[in-house]
């Protein structure tokens, strides 16, 4: 069915941050004319960032309230022809899959912007990232937010790709300019990995385009091929598309796309960029990276690989599951051996994204819902974890787990929050992490019995390394070096408490989120389930 424009809300959500970027740029340009002081400029850009990301978040809530979860089609469509010459359309829309991610992005970006404020920092800490060339920083954050929202809204493959790439540059600069000691290395590593991936995606995209059947653009004009993701999924069967590079067309294209997405997930063995990026990136950037960027990979698989190349996905499902299990168990083991708190959390992200892979590979409704819900929960929990790391790093200026001890006495409130976040992350029942992990495992079990058993072992290890970390950092006699660390300040409370609240609420009452996605995901996975005879 052709989706005609019903609302421009998504366009607003996506491009409000871009407006912010523009204004900041304008201020920078006019700085000499208006005789702006650097200080004023910084404050202005901080304000702009708060306003824009806040506005985006509010509009996301509006989106949520307006969303009809019983309708499995695309909603809030904004659809127009963009480049007639290449049959490219400007096609934004949400369904049960993307709405969760859009809301998550809106929330996390706002949190990240708040976390980028220097409030409550000691004055003498001049080199803190939140005080270094602020306008550029804020512009980059907003640009990044635009890219991420765009990816989740886009329903035209080309548009999707453009937004996907747009995310690259700000991330590169954010890590590279405001990052830690080895930032150059981390930034270029991130950049190269991701670019390699997206180049593969480019080829896959073009290949799909030329293999697609003639159809019509939204303005009714006929087109020989299409980038429209919906049409690619519904009006084409690439199973019959012959060979490419000597391999069956769907398989080779699927592999190309999957690698592109797997790098973002990140899936073993493409995950080594993540720890470096996280360790070097400033806290809010890690928050966004873990909270939203890692979701792009799975989202891409669900949005593109599954519906467009079902037979290839079915063909590859064991591979996906196995890699998922490797992610879970292997990364958990790696966590045990980490000395740097941030690195540990980075690897735990790798481990948790493994559940998503396992869940989606099963093609059961529990698995797929668990996968997306796990994305959501990880998007809530891991930002909290990184904020926590930031808190201690701002105070102690290092993250060596062994370097602390007995902090529970010194910073009770902080310890409590850490405890909660860790428990949520290790899947304590009653907190949100448990629901999604359980769903992934339940969903995967009937199909991959033994693999699931192995990955449940991962749950045990997860508990082990988190508790061990707590023990080493917070319990035992207080390390006198830190006898005067301050507890949480208001900025940190403002960022951490909402996330903590969500962890608890969605643990006991997850249906609001699950309702949004269930129907869409069932429809998405139904043909594949049928293909494997579930």
């Amino acid at each position: 069915m052709p989706y005609h424009t019903t609302s421009t809300l998504l366009t607003w959500i996506t491009f409000v941050p871009a407006i912010g970027v523009g204004v900041i740029g304008l201020l920078l340009g006019l700085k000499p004319l208006l005789k702006l002081k650097q200080g004023t400029l910084d404050r202005l850009s901080r304000l702009l960032a708060l306003i824009c990301s806040g506005a985006s978040m509010v509009m996301c809530i509006a989106l949520w309230s307006g969303f009809d979860s019983t309708n499995t089609g695309i909603q809030f469509v904004h659809h127009a022809v963009w480049i007639q010459a290449f049959n490219i359309e400007y096609f934004l829309g949400v369904d049960g899959l993307s709405i969760t991610m859009i809301m998550l992005t809106g929330l996390i970006c706002f949190v990240a912007v708040v976390a980028s404020m220097p409030w409550g920092l000691p004055k003498e800490n001049k080199e803190h990232f939140s005080r270094r060339s602020v306008p550029g920083y804020m512009a980059m954050i907003l640009l990044l937010e635009m890219g991420m929202l765009g990816v989740f809204c886009a329903l035209d493959f080309f548009l999707f790709y453009v937004f996907w790439e747009i995310m690259l540059l700000p991330m590169y600069f954010l890590i590279g300019i405001w990052g830690g000691p080895r930032r150059e290395y981390a930034a270029i590593k991130f950049f190269l990995y991701t670019l390699a991936g997206s180049m593969l995606m480019l080829l896959g995209m073009i290949a799909l385009y030329f293999a697609s059947n003639p159809t019509t653009l939204i303005d009714g004009s006929p087109c020989a091929h299409t980038f429209n993701l919906i049409k690619l999924a519904t009006e084409n069967d690439f199973g019959t598309a012959g060979m490419l590079l000597g391999v069956a067309f769907p398989k080779i294209v699927w592999i190309g796309l999957f690698i592109a997405f797997a790098i973002k997930i990140p899936m073993f063995p493409f995950h080594t960029w993540l720890p470096d990026a996280h360790v070097e990136a400033p806290t809010p950037v890690s928050v966004i990276l873990a909270g939203v960027l890692l979701k792009m990979g799975i989202y891409g698989i669900l949005r593109i690989c599954l519906p467009i190349l079902p037979e290839a996905t079915v063909w590859a499902r064991y591979g996906i599951a196995i890699f998922g299990v490797i992610n879970i168990v292997y990364a958990a083991f790696v966590c045990m051996a980490q000395k740097d708190l941030k690195k540990l959390i980075a690897y735990s992200s790798v481990s948790h994204m493994g559940f998503c892979l396992l869940g989606l590979a099963a093609f059961t409704s529990q698995g797929i819902s668990g996968c997306v819900y796990q994305m959501w929960n990880h998007g809530i929990i891991s930002p909290a974890l990184f904020l926590i790391t930031g808190v201690i790093y701002d105070r102690a200026h290092h993250r060596e787990i062994e370097g602390f001890g007995g902090l529970a006495k010194q910073m009770p409130e902080y310890s409590a929050i850490v405890g909660l976040a860790f428990m949520a992350s290790l899947g304590l029942p009653g907190l949100n992490g448990f629901i999604s992990e359980a769903l992934c495992l339940v969903g995967a079990f009937p199909v991959f019995t033994l693999l699931t058993v192995v990955s449940v072992l991962g749950v045990v290890i997860t508990a082990a390394y988190y508790l061990w970390t707590i023990q080493r950092m917070f319990l035992g006699p207080l390390n006198q070096k830190y006898a005067n660390l301050a507890d949480l300040n208001w900025r940190e409370r403002f960022t951490l408490y909402p996330l903590a609240a969500i962890m608890i609420i969605l643990g006991v009452y997850p249906m609001p989120i699950l309702h949004l996605m269930n129907q869409t995901l069932d429809e998405l996975v139904a043909p594949l389930a049928a293909a494997v005879g579930l």
């Binding site: 010459a85 453009v162 790439e165 590169y172 590279g176 270029i188 480019l202 080829l203 073009i206 590079l245």
Partner: protein, 521 residues
């Protein structure tokens, strides 16, 4: 026996070239007059004299700029959609030639603006400088429009001679002369080899214009004998050598880095775009004009099978981009780095030539147009920085993002575009190239595309290296924000705009390129 009318008809089609030639003559004359006048008056090197010279700089710039604009205008008036051969098939005026003529005129125009106040051109030689630029522009136009081996040779030599002189133009530097010498000798050999190839072709098929050759090859039995095949093969490859030298494709690229580094920066900018574009126009016209089946953009005539030149060009393309990128990684001089990057880009464009067909040519035209914009921009920044620090070494770029935010930003934009990341125009160019290849779909085509992909990633590494230096590294010396208000900066800014805009909406470009990409109108 063609009558005179046709010739007069023909002249109407080369008005731009005539204008360029005419303006060039005027400039030369003025320059001569000014030279003699100053020589006679023996004017002391006083403020007045210098002021006068600056005034002359402005004068010559304006004259040549106006001339170029006029040429550009008359290029599209009268509008020429159809395809007409002129002067007994010496030249052809069709969309392809029109597009590339516009391209080279534009490039020259930008070069003229970029040369304003350029330290590498002595003030009292501005006249000759601009004159040569105009003649070179004319030559490139003729080259783009030439349809006949003789014409190709003559036009190419015109371009070459001017470039030799302009390369050696920087009176301050020995490296400039050295580059010029290398260039002239290398060029001489290359064109000589090409000429020999032409002679063989002429002998084999008894024609010199593309159409004659086309019919002759389709008809003649020369290719059936092994000797004939050998001869034809040699001929084709010799000519390819000449053209490859013009577009700086491996293995005919070795002159390129030295010349780019030695030549005056503004001229390097032109050199990296203009002759390349004209060369590609000839490449397409010669090969496809001869070997395409009549009236069919997609398929070649059977005779072409005996010479797998498409495959050869494909291989050259792969090698060119790889070599260019790999060597670029270890460069520390920005001009030289851009030289190697331009070799790599020639490789990219060759992907389009390999793909062939409507889409292939469209991709080539589009890419060259975009490359013109972004590369000119990059060189504009380089020459702006050159004026700040009087050096192109990568070290002087350290912390540029802080010291000269505007220049840094512009450079970043152009580099991202050269890398081919959305939302910049460079990405669109790459998109069309890859699209053309993948649409062909054969194993080798896709393989070539994969090589291209790999190269784009490698390329990122050295472009990002510049970014690292500009943004990620802290400047050692205390950070002083320098504001650069000169022509180069303005030009760079103006070029940055289309670099972004065409990345977001490139419909008109695509249409124009499509219109140009047709040999049979």
């Amino acid at each position: 026996m063609p009558n005179l009318a046709i010739n007069l008809e023909g002249f109407r089609n080369i008005v731009p070239e005539l204008i360029l030639g005419g303006v060039a003559v005027v400039v030369f004359v003025l320059a001569a007059l000014q030279r003699t006048s100053t020589d006679i008056k023996q004017s002391p090197k006083g403020a007045a004299a210098r002021g006068k010279k600056r005034w002359q700089d402005v004068l010559f710039t304006n004259i040549s700029a106006l001339g170029l604009i006029a040429a550009f205008v008359f290029l599209f008036y009268p509008s020429r959609d159809g395809s007409t051969t002129l002067f007994f098939g010496l030249m052809v005026s069709d969309p392809l030639s029109t597009f590339f003529r516009a391209l080279v005129i534009g490039a020259t125009f930008l070069c003229v603006l970029l040369s304003v106040g350029s330290p590498s051109v002595a003030r009292d030689r501005k006249g000759e400088y601009h004159g040569l630029l105009l003649v070179m522009a004319m030559g490139m136009c003729l080259l783009a429009g030439s349809n006949h081996l003789l014409m190709i040779y003559v036009a190419m030599e015109t371009v070459s001679l001017c470039s030799y002189l302009l390369t050696g133009f920087d009176g301050r530097l020995d490296r400039s002369r050295e580059a010029g010498l290398k260039y002239v000798l290398y060029g001489g050999v290359a064109s000589g080899v090409m000429l020999f190839g032409m002679s063989l072709l002429y002998g084999l098929f008894g024609g010199l214009s593309v159409q004659e050759l086309h019919q002759a090859i389709a008809a003649s039995s020369a290719l059936d004998t092994p000797v004939g095949q050998w001869a034809a093969l040699l001929a084709v490859l010799f000519i390819l050598c000449g053209l490859g030298y013009k577009i700086a494709a491996v293995p005919f690229h070795m002159w390129c880095p030295d010349v780019y580094e030695g030549a005056p920066t503004p001229f390097t900018a032109l050199l990296s775009v203009g002759p390349k574009a004209a060369g590609f126009a000839v490449l397409i016209r010669f090969f496809y004009g001869i070997f395409l089946a009549p009236g069919d953009m997609e398929n070649l005539i059977p005779a072409a099978d005996s010479i797998p030149w498409v495959l050869v060009i494909g291989i050259i393309s792969a090698v060119t981009m790889t070599v260019g990128n790999f060597i670029a990684i270890v460069q520390n001089n920005l001009k030289r780095l851009l030289a190697y990057s331009s070799i790599a880009h020639a490789g990219y464009v060759l992907m389009g030539v390999t793909a062939g067909g409507q889409e292939g040519f469209q991709a080539v035209s589009l890419y060259l147009l975009i490359y013109l914009i972004m590369n000119m921009g990059a060189f504009a920044v380089v020459s702006a920085v050159d004026r700040l620090h009087n050096s192109e070494d990568i070290r002087v770029y350290q912390g540029l993002g802080r010291r000269a935010p505007l220049l840094g930003l512009l450079m970043a934009i152009f580099l991202f575009s050269l890398t081919g990341l959305p939302p910049t125009a460079g990405f669109i160019g790459k998109l069309y190239l890859f699209a053309a290849l993948i649409h062909q779909g054969g194993f080798w085509y896709v393989a070539l595309a994969v090589v291209g992909i790999f190269n784009s990633v490698v390329a990122l590494y050295y472009y990002a290296r510049v970014l690292n230096v500009m943004y990620l590294k802290k400047a050692e010396e205390p950070v002083v924000t320098v504001s650069v208000g000169n022509m180069a900066t303005v030009l760079a800014t103006l070029l940055a705009i289309p670099t972004i805009v065409f990345g977001i909406f490139w419909q008109p470009l695509a249409k124009a390129a499509q219109w140009s990409a047709n040999l049979f109108h």
